[in-house]
């Protein structure tokens, strides 16, 4: 996988839009890694991706931020 998309310091909803655009440029099933700030960004960006039908595969706390791996498409339809 290529370099993570670094969205530290990028606030909502710009961070979400950046991930969305990155995913749209890739085929179904492709994965990206994203760095997200703690607080609002990590509480909101993953849910927006889920609502769009993408699948968050991993989301782990690191120093002051989170590392998220998300796959385009493939979300469980739960909401």
């Amino acid at each position: 996988m290529s370099e993570p998309i670094d969205l530290r310091g990028v606030s909502c909803p710009a961070n979400y839009v950046r991930v969305r655009l990155a995913l749209e440029s890739l085929p179904e099933g492709a994965e990206v890694e994203v760095l997200l700030d703690a607080g609002e960004p990590v509480l909101n960006v993953p849910r927006s991706l889920k609502n769009d039908g993408d699948r968050v595969l991993a989301l782990e706390a690191e120093e002051g931020h989170y590392r998220m791996r998300v796959r385009r498409g493939g979300s469980r339809d739960v909401w």
Partner: protein
């Protein structure tokens, strides 16, 4: 000749200005088509003072009309699927937020419930006093269910669905919970304390994997709220009920209100005189 109380029932209010009235127009669920809005603007220009007033309970009012114009305005409203609002001691319009259809926070279908309540008792006459209802899609309470005689609030009961093994131990659920009802166990998985949960569905919505899902979706119930001279927040009645049961609850509360009011009393006064439990026995025997 139309007498003043008939006019009031039909949503006509006497203004301070001599011979001038306001026509209250009900806006179901706060939604109007642009065609209806244009028709209303034309009516306000023709019969009113050229302005349209937005009431605090989701009605629109054309002001400055004359009493003789009543029938003509009513007919014109009906042509575009609109009708007069109500005032006085009647079942008022149900105030409603957008709910789950468009609002990202909405937990339940507010307009469906509001339509059902409207169908059941909107404009019902012969009440001791006004009877107000409101439906809010979530605990943010934009439609103020706690400030109405009967109010409903969208609610979601969460469950952690371990069987699916979807949890990635991210802790987002615990992070978003506003009431501290979620703690994480040693493997980073949520433990939900339903006693602390305010059923706002935040964890269900925020969980990126769907490992927390709604086990129940319905309405929290509020009774006896009002503003006016003696503001009082409603009592929460407890439980999460279906849309069907919500309509029945409101209907029975309205009937019990009629049976037990002594003169011109708001529901809250009746409930407090009888005691909440005694009143509820009448509502759900």
């Amino acid at each position: 000749m139309i007498d003043e109380s008939t006019l009031k029932g039909g949503g006509f209010l006497k203004l301070r200005q001599k011979d001038r009235w306001a026509v209250r127009v009900r806006v179901p669920n706060g939604d109007m088509s642009v065609e209806q809005l244009a028709a209303l603007a034309a009516l306000a220009r023709r019969f009113g003072d050229g302005e349209i007033h937005l009431s605090v309970r989701q009605s629109l009012e054309i002001r400055g009309v004359r009493i003789e114009q009543f029938e003509e305005i009513k007919a014109a409203l009906e042509q575009v699927g609109l009708g007069p609002g109500v005032c006085g001691p009647r079942a008022r319009n149900t105030v409603v937020c957008p709910g789950v259809l468009t609002c990202r926070r909405g937990l339940n279908n507010t307009t469906e419930l509001a339509d059902r309540l409207t169908e059941r008792f909107y404009a019902r006459e012969g009440l001791p006093h006004k009877f107000k209802t409101a439906v809010s899609g979530c605990p943010a309470s934009c439609a103020k269910p706690q400030g109405n005689d009967v109010g409903f609030m969208g609610a979601v009961e969460p469950v952690f669905d371990e069987v699916e093994g979807a949890c990635i131990a991210c802790g987002v659920c615990a992070g978003v919970c506003p009431t501290g009802a979620i703690t994480l166990d040693s493997r980073g998985r949520p433990v939900i304390d339903l006693d602390k949960c305010d059923l706002d569905g935040e964890c269900v919505s925020a969980c990126p994997t769907g490992a927390i899902r709604a086990s129940k979706r319905g309405w929290r119930v509020f009774l006896g709220g009002n503003f006016g001279r003696h503001p009082a927040l409603a009592y929460e009645v407890g439980g999460v009920i279906s849309t069907e049961d919500a309509v029945e609850f409101a209907e029975r509360a309205l009937e019990a209100f009629q049976r037990h009011a002594q003169g011109r009393e708001r529901l809250r006064v009746v409930v407090d005189r009888m005691g909440l439990d005694a009143f509820l026995k009448e509502v759900r025997p």
